[in-house]
């Protein structure tokens, strides 16, 4: 055990860090894009506050197409774009680009679903008080949907973590990459299993923290 840690401990720790870095940056950026997209989808829908069939249809179609392209294929397809953006097509930063592009539409859908769950009556009440659309989004919808948004973010983070590991297969960094390099190419099963265990742990920790926060912040539960 000690020998294993001495030999591979640093490698595992380093790539564990890289995985976390990729996931955090990708999730944050996916949300920076996904939240406005989700809001626009809700607003422009047929029974939304600002119905606009053209905008809705266009966004809806783009989101659907992006979501149906498998991550691995998307990653390869956009290599020229990635290279243009970060200067190379491998490594952690290069993996972040397809991760964000792939996750943003997914996040947009989650945000859309969460916002649609907000009671129409509460929105109507805010309108009857003279609230602007912006006030309704920021003060009513985002707040009332808070629990659902956090649950969504938890799922999104776990999904992005899974994608990031997949990216390891084609030159991304992180735990997925070393699992393949050492476990498959160099046939060092201990490293493979260690990275698998770390990935599983990571997903579970993210889930547990997310759900706990969501539950703690939900005021619909009495007591």
């Amino acid at each position: 055990m000690n020998a294993f840690l001495e030999q591979y401990g640093e490698l595992l720790a380093q790539n564990f860090g890289i995985s976390i870095y990729m996931v955090i940056v990708s999730t944050v950026m996916a949300y920076v894009l996904g939240i406005p997209l989700g809001i626009i989808l809700v607003l422009t829908a047929k029974d939304g506050m600002r119905p606009n069939a053209a905008v809705y249809k266009a966004l809806d179609t783009i989101v659907n197409i992006m979501r149906s392209v498998p991550f691995l294929i998307l990653m390869v397809v956009i290599i020229p774009f990635t290279r243009m953006l970060v200067g190379r097509s491998y490594g952690a930063n290069a993996t972040i680009v397809p991760l964000v592009i792939s996750a943003a539409p997914f996040v947009a859908r989650m945000v859309e679903q969460s916002l649609l769950e907000v009671d129409k009556g509460v929105i109507e009440a805010a309108q009857s008080m003279g609230a602007t659309t912006f006030q309704i989004i920021t003060k009513v919808m985002m707040l009332e949907a808070r629990t659902s948004l956090i649950v969504g973010a938890t799922i999104a983070t776990a999904t992005i973590l899974g994608y990031s590991a997949m990216a390891g297969a084609v030159g991304g960094g992180g735990l997925g990459a070393i699992a393949i390099q050492y476990g498959y190419n160099r046939n060092v099963p201990s490293v493979k299993w260690a990275s698998v265990v770390l990935l599983v742990l990571l997903v579970n920790v993210v889930q547990a923290i997310g759900m706990r926060i969501a539950k703690r912040l939900d005021r619909r539960i009495t007591g």
Partner: protein, 340 residues
């Protein structure tokens, strides 16, 4: 008295048509209403009659297909979006499902409309506290709505509705989700608010007892049409339209009898007539029996009103004499067609 009062809400030719695919649904047809300052105005109708659409037209949550809504002299259709939002801060609304923000505390719910209008946070909290005091929920300020009963939630909604000192309070089936006792207390609170603030209240309901309990005036909506409107006492005593009669005389009160006569009258007693045993005297004088098909008492604006439906004898002459007898005692007598 009413004539000199200012008109607060007026609708002219208000019409709303919903496009439902190929079908067009007329929710409101040419509704003309006048509601004066300080009135408690009931709008009553069966479900689906269009009353919810009507109340939503009064603050333009629903834009009418044609016709005008005039609030305190301002045509809503002529206002810009910003002006309309400002107008809405003066026309508050409470709802059947309360529609509180579930993720905010009670006091933050009451502060919410003031947040929208940009009242300073400190002033807003102070005012919210006073309002919660007024609705009797001061000690629940830091609770969340889910921890309150339905009646308490509606009280919070009322406090919230009063936050920006509105001229008008619209109540959309505000007591329909509440039990009778809670309904009574909410209605009493609304009455008190009307008395102390002089705020005009519009009450949408399907329940005649709500109208009787607190309204001064009533409009009856039937299939999108304004069937009848006027003072509650007048409409209750002498309903003219079929829709009004349906509401005053509940369907379930139809009784089976052995008298063959088809001639029925409805009489309404007010307090001054309840001392004389009118029916007994009438039977003694006309020497013929009548069949009491319905009798009940209702509280119309604090006055006890009794109503009775009598089936009169076959003999036309005796029946006529009975009607005269009742009219001489200044009771409102009305012949009912097809009651039995």
């Amino acid at each position: 008295m009413t004539n000199t009062k200012q008109i607060m809400i007026e609708t002219c030719g208000l019409t709303k048509t919903f496009e439902g695919g190929e079908k067009q649904v007329s929710a409101l047809k040419d509704v003309n209403l006048q509601i004066h300052t300080g009135e408690i105005y009931g709008i009553i109708g069966m479900s689906g009659a269009g009353k919810s659409t009507l109340v939503r037209c009064l603050n333009f949550l629903e834009r009418p297909t044609s016709g005008e809504v005039i609030i305190d002299g301002r045509k809503l259709s002529s206002l810009s979006d910003a002006q309309l939002r400002h107008e809405r801060t003066e026309v508050s609304m409470i709802f059947q499902d309360f529609n509180l923000l579930m993720q905010r505390t009670v006091i933050d719910n009451v502060c919410f409309p003031m947040e929208i209008t940009g009242v300073k946070k400190k002033d807003a909290r102070q005012r919210a506290k006073a309002l919660l005091e007024e609705v009797g929920l001061a000690e629940k300020a830091s609770n969340y709505p889910a921890q309150l009963s339905g009646g308490q939630q509606q009280r919070v909604a009322i406090a919230r509705a009063l936050a920006n000192n509105p001229k008008i309070l619209l109540c959309d089936e505000a007591t329909s989700a509440l039990d009778p006792k809670t309904t009574k207390s909410i209605l009493a609170l609304l009455k008190e608010i009307n008395a102390t603030r002089g705020i005009t209240i519009v009450i949408i309901t399907h329940s005649m007892s709500v109208v009787e309990e607190i309204c001064t005036h009533v409009a009856i909506i039937d299939e999108g049409n304004l069937a009848e409107s006027g003072e509650v006492e007048e409409v209750f005593t002498r309903p003219k339209s079929a829709a009004a009669k349906r509401l005053v005389l509940p369907e379930s009160s139809k009784a089976i009898d052995e008298m063959k006569s088809k001639r029925c009258v409805r009489i309404v007693f007010s307090e001054n007539s309840s001392f004389e045993p009118v029916i007994s005297n009438m039977i003694l004088e006309c020497k013929a029996p009548v069949n009491i098909l319905l009798a009940d008492t209702r509280d119309v604006n604090g006055t006890a009103k009794g109503q009775m439906v009598l089936q009169l004898p076959d003999d036309e002459e005796v029946a006529d004499r009975m009607i005269r007898f009742l009219e001489e005692r200044r009771l409102a007598v009305e012949e009912l067609e097809g009651y039995v």
